[in-house]
Assembly symmetry: C2
Homo-oligomer: 106 residues x 2
Amino acid sequence: MEQNYLDVKAKFIRGFSDKTRLQILECIKNEEKTVSQIVEELQGNQSNISQHLACLKGCGIIVGRQEGKYIYYSLRNEKIREMLELFDEVLNQVQTEIAQCDSHLY
Amino acid sequence: MEQNYLDVKAKFIRGFSDKTRLQILECIKNEEKTVSQIVEELQGNQSNISQHLACLKGCGIIVGRQEGKYIYYSLRNEKIREMLELFDEVLNQVQTEIAQCDSHLY
DNA sequence: TAATCATATTAGTGAATACTGATATGAAAT
DNA sequence: ATTTCATATCAGTATTCACTAATATGATTA
């Protein structure tokens, strides 16, 4: 396993590891949206959202398509959607396991 | 989508988003290992590795099992292994797409 | 019981990252 | 051509995070 590959992989995954970015991804999960739509839906700061979009784009997680003065962002591909779903699945399973484990303490 | 859930989800994913932690996960992917085995294989600092193990454990990604003075760490379950594999799969696909896209510039 | 070994925790530091407000770019409308 | 609108970028600050060295805990061995 190359040292460098793990750096790239870590950076890629870090794209998903922030609340605001997860909100953005949820927001555009099913349909492309413009920056202003996203800003409004998340009640966020334009600059902040824009920077997170740049991050997600840089990680290869989303793509942007310009149409006039608007830029529409969407998930890069189906695999990304699968990832998002697997996150939920795995997290739920883990939380269930932990909950069961906790209950043994009583 | 609850605000709080996204925080938990982000924290969970952040567990995977560091090179050292990815190295640890690779290291114990196929068999449980003790802390000292991991430290040696990664040529790492004991304190540092220990803190990363605590992080991974706190995220619910790995579990530890004590046997005498040793603690054996392993992936929590099969789903986690699946996640690791999906990361590679998706990242490779993204990189391929980006490479193809770049080639259009010439 | 004392010494040793494996692991965890703490404190301190530096680097990376998220956020905000202000400004810049570039496209569309007037 | 000027103004307006959508988005990006920049500069500064605060927070989070990874790392190291030192110390603590807790189990085993002598």
